[in-house]
C-alpha cells in the first residue's frame, strides 16, 4: 500500500518536472507547419546575436571561474591552515549571496562604481565587464567555496604544507603544486556550477546592460514564438551537460578514493 503511494508521488513529481520540458521540446520542433523540424534551432544558431551573446557569456564564465579559483582556493586553504576558528564565520559570509537578491547587489554596485564615484567602473565597457565578473563570482561563491572546502577536507592540509615547506617550497609553490592539484576535482565541480550559473544569469547582466545570453533569452522570449523554446532547450542542455560532467568527475574521484 505504502509502495503505491510512493510510486504515485514519484510519478506526479516526474510529470510536474518533465511535462513542461517535453512540451517545450515538442513546441520548439513545430516551426514548420504540419511536421517536426529543427528550423527553430537553425534559426537561433544562425542568429548572429545568439552567437555574440552566447560566446560573451562563455568568455565571462571562463573569466569568472579563473577569478573564483584564484580567490577561493587560497582563501579556503588559508582559513583551514591558519584560522580554523574563523571557518564558520567565513562559511557564513560565503553563503550570503544566497540570501541577498542579485538585484540588491547590482544596485549597490551601480551606486558604488558609477561614473561620478571614486572608482568609475561603469564608465567603460571593460570596467563594466569587470564589475559583472565580480558579480558572477559572488553569485557562485557559495558553491565554489563549499566545493573547495570539502575538497580540502580530504587531505591533511597542515602536514602536507609542512612537508612541502621543509623541502624548500614557498607559498606559491605549495598552492600550485600541492594544494590545487589535490582539490582539482572539487574545483572542477565548482567550476561547472559557476559555468551553468553564468550562462543563465539575467538580472546582473541586464541591469549592467551587457550583451549576455540571459538578457538575449529574455528578449527573444518577448518577441518570438518558436525560437525561445529552442533557446530554452539549448540552455537546458548546457546546464545539464555541466551537471553531467560534475557527476562524471565525482564518480571518477570516488573511484580513486576507494582505491586509496
Amino acid at each position: 500500500m505504502n509502495r503505491i503511494w510512493s510510486w504515485l508521488a514519484l510519478s506526479l513529481g516526474l510529470v510536474y518536472f518533465f511535462l513542461p520540458l517535453i512540451a517545450t521540446v515538442e513546441f520548439s520542433l513545430k516551426m514548420r507547419r504540419g511536421e517536426y523540424s529543427f528550423d527553430a534551432y537553425r534559426k537561433v544558431l544562425e542568429d548572429p546575436r545568439f552567437q555574440e551573446t552566447f560566446s560573451y557569456s562563455v568568455v565571462m564564465a571562463l573569466f569568472t571561474i579563473a577569478f573564483g579559483v584564484l580567490l577561493v582556493v587560497p582563501t579556503a586553504y588559508w582559513v583551514r591552515l591558519k584560522l580554523p576558528r574563523l571557518r564558520p564565520a567565513v562559511e557564513f559570509v560565503t553563503l550570503l549571496p544566497l540570501v541577498i537578491p542579485a538585484i540588491v547587489v547590482v544596485f549597490g554596485y551601480i551606486r558604488l562604481y558609477n561614473t561620478s564615484s571614486w572608482l568609475p567602473l561603469t564608465g567603460s565597457a571593460t570596467g563594466t565587464n569587470l564589475l559583472l565578473m565580480f558579480g558572477y563570482a559572488m553569485l557562485s561563491l557559495p558553491y565554489m567555496y563549499r566545493a573547495v572546502d570539502t575538497g580540502l577536507r580530504t587531505i591533511d592540509v597542515a602536514t602536507l604544507t609542512e612537508a612541502a615547506q621543509s623541502l624548500g617550497a614557498g607559498w606559491i609553490t605549495i598552492l600550485a603544486r600541492v594544494i590545487l592539484p589535490n582539490v582539482l576535482i572539487a574545483v572542477l565541480s565548482g567550476a561547472f556550477l559557476t559555468f551553468a550559473i553564468v550562462i543563465g544569469e539575467f538580472t546582473m547582466a541586464a541591469l549592467l546592460n551587457r550583451p549576455a545570453f540571459g538578457p538575449y533569452l529574455q528578449l527573444m522570449g518577448a518577441n518570438r514564438a518558436y525560437e525561445p523554446a529552442a533557446l530554452a532547450v539549448i540552455a537546458f542542455a548546457v546546464t545539464w551537460a555541466c551537471m553531467g560532467l560534475i557527476q562524471l568527475i565525482t564518480r571518477f574521484s570516488k573511484h580513486t578514493k576507494a582505491a586509496r
Binding site: Q165, S166, G170, T173
Partner: protein
C-alpha cells in the same frame, strides 16, 4: 663547537610553558633520540628546530649559523612525519623529486638522484606508483627518501614508526639506522617507545615536562639514570624500601637482610631501586646480597620466566631463563634471590 646546538630553548603556548631551558648539542653524523611520555614537548622541540614553531626564547644553530630567524623553507632540514605526508597527487618518483625541483636542480641530475634514493630505500621498482598504492612501511620509506633527496644538514623524524605494525616497525627502524649511518646524516628522532630510542640511538635525551632530564648513551640512560623520572620511565624498576643503619659505610637493612652499598647514604628510610636483571634466582657468583622472599606471581613467557616475589614490604620482579630440566618455582614457594648491593639505585627525592 657542536654541529647542531640548542641552547636555553623555551616555548610558551599562551600561559602554558611547554619547553623549559632545553639544551642539547648534537655532533655531525650523530643519531639522537628524544624520548619521553606523551605531551612532554618532544614534538614542540622538533618543530622549533624545523622552523614550524617559533621559540619564545633560546638559540638554535646549525654549523654555527643561527637559524631561529629562518623560515622552514629557508632551513636545510629534512622532516619525516608520523602520518607519512606524501603528496597524494604525485608518484613516488615525483614525491622524491619534489624538493629538488623546488630548488631548481637540473632534470638529469634529479633523475639520477631519485634513482639513487629509491635504491637506498630498497624500492627501485615502485617509482611510478602513487602513494595510495603503497603499504604504510613503503610510504614511510618514500617519505624518508624524499626528505633525504635534498641532502639536508639535519634529518628530523617525529614518531615515524608509530603508525606501523610491530614487525615492520622493528625492520624499518633497523633500516633507518643503517641509512643514517651510511649517509652520516645528523639526526634527531622523536619517540615515546623506549626500546626504539635505546636500540637506535647514539645518545638519548629523556624529556619530562618540557625539560631534558638526562642526556646520555643508551647504556648510561638505562644503567645510570640520574633522576627518579629517568629511572622509572626507562625500563622496569623494582622499588625497594630500606632503612639506613650506617650512613657513612652505606649500610642498609632490606627486610631481614643487611646489605652494604659502599657509598655514603642519608640517614633514615630510603627508597632504592633495582632493574629486574640485577636480581637473580638462587645464589650467583658476584652477587653477595641474598634476599629471602615468597613467590607471588609466575609469568611464563617462553624463553624467560618472570617472577615476582614479596620480600617483606617490597615486591621484586625479575627474570630467570627457562630451563626445561628445572621445574620453576610456584606461587607460594619460598625463594632466595641474589643481587649486588652496589648496583642498587638510590631514587629518593
Amino acid at each position: 663547537m657542536a654541529f647542531l646546538k640548542i641552547a636555553h630553548l623555551e616555548k610558551f603556548f599562551g600561559p602554558m610553558q611547554v619547553v623549559k631551558d632545553f639544551n642539547l648539542e648534537v655532533e655531525q653524523g650523530e643519531f639522537v633520540s628524544l624520548l619521553g611520555p606523551s605531551g612532554c614537548g618532544k614534538t614542540t622541540v622538533l618543530r622549533m628546530v624545523a622552523g614550524f614553531e617559533a621559540p619564545t626564547s633560546g638559540v638554535i644553530s646549525i654549523e654555527d649559523q643561527d637559524v631561529v630567524r629562518l623560515k622552514p623553507n629557508q632551513r636545510n632540514i629534512g622532516m619525516v612525519f608520523q602520518a607519512y605526508a606524501l603528496f597524494p597527487n604525485l608518484t613516488v618518483a615525483q614525491n622524491v623529486a619534489f624538493g629538488l625541483r623546488v630548488k631548481g636542480v637540473p632534470r638529469s641530475e634529479i633523475k639520477s638522484r631519485v634513482t639513487e634514493m629509491l635504491d637506498l630505500i630498497g624500492l627501485p621498482d615502485l617509482a611510478n606508483r602513487y602513494p595510495f598504492q603503497l603499504s604504510g612501511g613503503q610510504q614511510q620509506r618514500v617519505a624518508l627518501a624524499r626528505a633525504l633527496a635534498v641532502r639536508p644538514q639535519v634529518l628530523l623524524l617525529d614518531e615515524p614508526l608509530s603508525a606501523l605494525d610491530a614487525k615492520i616497525r622493528v625492520s624499518l627502524r633497523n633500516e633507518i639506522r643503517l641509512i643514517q649511518k651510511k649517509l652520516g646524516i645528523t639526526t634527531i628522532f622523536v619517540t615515546h617507545d623506549q626500546e626504539e630510542a635505546l636500540s637506535m640511538s647514539d645518545r638519548v635525551v629523556v624529556m619530562h615536562k618540557g625539560i631534558a632530564d638526562q642526556v646520555g648513551t643508551p647504556f648510561e640512560i638505562y644503567n645510570k639514570p640520574t633522576t627518579k623520572f629517568v629511572a622509572t620511565f626507562v625500563g622496569t624498576l623494582n622499588i625497594i624500601e630500606a632503612e639506613v643503619t650506617d650512613p657513612a659505610a652505606g649500610q642498609v637493612r632490606i627486610g631481614a637482610t643487611t646489605a652494604t652499598l659502599g657509598r655514603p647514604l642519608p640517614k633514615g628510610k630510603i627508597t632504592l631501586a633495582a632493574r629486574p636483571e640485577m636480581v637473580s634466582l638462587g645464589t650467583v657468583p658476584g652477587r653477595a646480597t641474598l634476599l629471602k622472599g615468597r613467590v607471588i606471581d609466575v609469568d611464563f613467557l617462553g624463553s624467560v620466566i618472570r617472577l615476582r616475589a614479596d620480600i617483606g614490604g617490597s615486591v621484586l620482579a625479575f627474570d630467570t631463563f627457562n630451563n626445561p630440566n628445572i621445574v620453576p618455582p610456584a606461587v607460594g614457594d619460598e625463594v632466595e634471590m641474589a643481587l649486588n648491593a652496589a648496583d642498587l639505585l638510590l631514587i629518593d627525592g
